[in-house]
């Protein structure tokens, strides 16, 4: 069995009044191996965010299953879901979601504090990560005192500190300038090389071109997949662009 197994995922929203139904995901199946770096692409309304919410256990699917490392997300009790999320998943958001009232260090430590870990353990895990992400010198600073790139690196550190099974990144480069975006993508690649499984949702072909595999979602289904194989980043970028063009013009994949 694969590390992450998504099978026949279906999500139907019923509007509160009138009862008309909106099909966000109709049938999504894919799997990912441990240590993979996969990107999910798709237009607005294609169901990307719904998929990510379900993977993050923030939302429940109408049908189908998500199995992460042998655990069925649908079987986890409501009470334990937060703990599950905290211990197994790491999140990186487009708008960083750092708390203004904490300095970077405390922002990074937040999941550990919520998990009631000891101080020694916190310090032990914080320093190597901060070192790796190059934010060791700014740990005492507050989010409003540092740049966007630094904020996002702190957010990545926060996602990594619990050594999660899976990192879910939602448009991580969306709020960054191209330089910081490149730096961040380098960083994600490096983390992935260390064995971290990453799932990234993005609009940006540039960001997706760094992943090992790109999944395209259209109208609630996995429409196409591209594997990197031996391609360079540039070749990968080209492939993604072609696919996006096809998607937009509605052509068939040959």
């Amino acid at each position: 069995m694969a590390f992450l197994e998504v099978s026949c995922l279906k999500k139907i929203y019923t509007t509160r009044l009138g009862g008309s139904q909106v099909r966000a995901l109709s049938n999504v199946s894919f799997s990912a191996e441990q240590g993979e770096y996969a990107a999910i692409m798709g237009e607005s309304g294609s169901g990307k965010t719904t998929l990510l919410n379900i993977l993050a256990a923030l939302d429940k699917p109408t049908g189908g299953r998500v199995i992460l490392d042998g655990m069925d997300l649908g079987q986890i009790k409501d009470r334990e879901i937060t703990t599950f999320r905290r211990e197994n998943l790491g999140f990186v958001f487009q708008d960083f979601n750092l708390l203004d009232t904490f300095n970077l260090k405390d922002n990074i430590l937040l999941p550990l504090v919520l998990g009631r870990k000891g101080i020694q353990e916190m310090t032990d895990s914080l320093l190597p990560i901060a070192q790796k992400l190059g934010i060791r010198d700014i740990l005492e600073k507050y989010p409003y005192e540092v740049s966007g790139g630094q904020k996002q690196r702190a957010a990545v550190a926060r996602a990594l500190i619990t050594t999660p099974k899976l990192i879910l990144a939602d448009e991580p480069t969306g709020a960054l300038d191209s330089r910081s975006a490149n730096d961040l993508l380098d960083l994600l690649e490096e983390i992935n090389r260390d064995g971290q499984t990453i799932l990234m949702v993005t609009h940006s072909a540039r960001a997706a071109s760094r992943a090992g595999r790109v999944l395209f979602i259209k109208d609630g289904e996995v429409y196409h997949q591209i594997y990197r194989g031996n391609s360079t980043n540039e070749q990968m970028y080209q492939k993604i662009s072609d696919t996006l063009t096809l998607l937009a013009t509605g052509g068939e994949i040959r």
């Binding site: 923030l58 009470r79 937060t82 703990t83 999320r85 905290r86 211990e87 999140f91 958001f93 979601n97 750092l98 708390l99 203004d100 009232t101 904490f102 405390d106 430590l109 937040l110 999941p111 504090v113 919520l114 998990g115 009631r116 101080i119 916190m122 507050y142 989010p143 409003y144 926060r158």
Partner: protein
Amino acid sequence: MKYGFYTKLAFTNIRKNRRIYVPYVFTCILTVMMYYLVRSLSVNPGLKEMYGGYSIASTLRLGTFVIGVFALIFLFYTNSFLMKRRQKEFGVFNILGMEKKHLARMILTETVLVTVISLGLGLGSGILFDKVMFLLICKLVGAEISLGFFVSGGVILSTVKLFCGIYLIIYLRAVYTVQVNDPIELLRGSSTGEREPKTKGLLALAGAVCLGTGYGIAVTVKNPVASMGLFFVAVILVIIGTYLVFTAGSIVILKLLRRNRKFYYQPRHFISVSGMIYRMKQNAAGLANICILCTMVLVMLSSTTSLILGREDMIHGRYPNDFIIHSDRSVADQNERLFRRLEEICKEEGISTENKVEYSYLLFMAEQQGSWFETDEQKLHIERDFSKFCSLFFIPLSDYNAYSGEKQVLEGDETLLFSNYEPYEKPVLGVFDREYQISGYLEEFFGNGASDTNVITSYYLVVTDEEFGRLVEISSGNGEESCAEQVYYGFDTPVSSKRQEALEDRIMSEMSGGEYGDDFETHLETRVENRNDFMGIYGGLFFLGLFLGVLFIMAAVLIIYYKQISEGYEDRERFEIMQKVGMTQTEVKQTIRSQVLMVFFLPIVMAGIHIAFAFTIIKLLLAVIGMVNVKLYLLCTIAAFLVFAVLYVIIYSLTARTYYKIVRR
């Protein structure tokens, strides 16, 4: 655009923002009502016909002023909060093509709407309650007059004028904020990042010192006269201290907590402490204000309540008998004639008398210098240290024994001593040319009621009749002013106050009849007359205390409510992030509870501490006006605090619920 458009828009806006507008409009209505009520009571013609009506009217006029100022500050504050919340909305309107002048017109229409609603409903309910309140105050004072429904056009007009003025100021401010901000800034509203407050260790220390000194003064003060001046010093120190402790001290404490890693890195403390640091930056002054308001209200309520409830004690302390005559002792014959005549009058009226007291006394003002008492007026330095001042009463032994039924024996310069405040602990007491040996202390004394006996320390000395005679000679050679040679004559009667009043009138006419010669100086005091005056003064104070109390509670609570709601919107984002990062719903709830609890109860807990420390000094101040029943005052304080706390808890639970709803979304 048509006029109707703005009216419609204003209605829609208020309805859309009802969560913040309903409490605001409610506050406006209440404030208008309160103002109208106090103002109309103060000019009610019926008040002047009542006993002590004049003093009530003047206290109420003062109250009117206080409420007016308060209304301005409070409504201005609540509105500025409201507008801050709506900035984003204005930004959207602005971007959608409404010009600043259109926005101004929209705000104007809204303001007019609020003005009309609050004035209409406020005045309506004010007029309605007016009658109720007036009956209440009459009952309180015990006057038996009921007045017709009283509506004063002048008062309505001045209320309308005042509040229109207040709303105009509010409107101008709102327009100003819209005018100076560009659309993007409006859109962003209050979401710009706040900097962490600086640590001001020195100020925090100063605050602690102020508070400590204020408390120290309040606790250690012993003399009621000295306490008057010191009270204000203590109050000012405590006010300054409260501000500093809330603003600087709280930050210092929170940062110290944050530095304690064991404490800080626990889920609940982690979020509360860091959140509170920011919260205190914005709220410290407001919380300090609330704390001081609470303290004032509680002091006012507890002291006036204990005055009202303890009024009989006070009257009995000040007037040892129902009827009291102080007369010059030198005209012994006339005195004797008058007292016998009084007995006849009572018999004629069929009024029984009891507890008859008659004794002579000499009263000297003196300045205590160790065991020596200086009575020479030239050497008295009353302005220098009033607390050293005391009154010395000399009473002949025969009069004392006759009254008390005891058979005390004194010889030569021996004396029996009674002190109303500070115990006299030295074995001798020197005055004039003599040192009196204190042979015993009296447990109690029938009292004199001379007007200042309750303010400064009074020593009552029982001396032999020969010694008393010698003192009379000394005093007459000493000039008249610093001493008085008097006879006290008093009796009680069980009859109704109506009959007592009639008796008083009869005695007055008897005394002023000229039968006893022109130089005959007597002074009649009755409890029944003073009871009415007393209620006139303190009934009004009590009423005002209650009134302002309700107003301040309302204010304090609404300020906190607004604060919480406004922070709820800011905190929503934070809690969302925390939930995404792995905080459970229960943890969110707990954290919210502990944060709201802290903000809510910090002021009232602090107020409780203030009151506890102020207890001693207020007890002494009350003693100055004759209220010496400490137990009653203690009970009143506790009761006032509990009532306050219960109200507070109710509002707290409402606020916490609304806050949680906002945060959870």
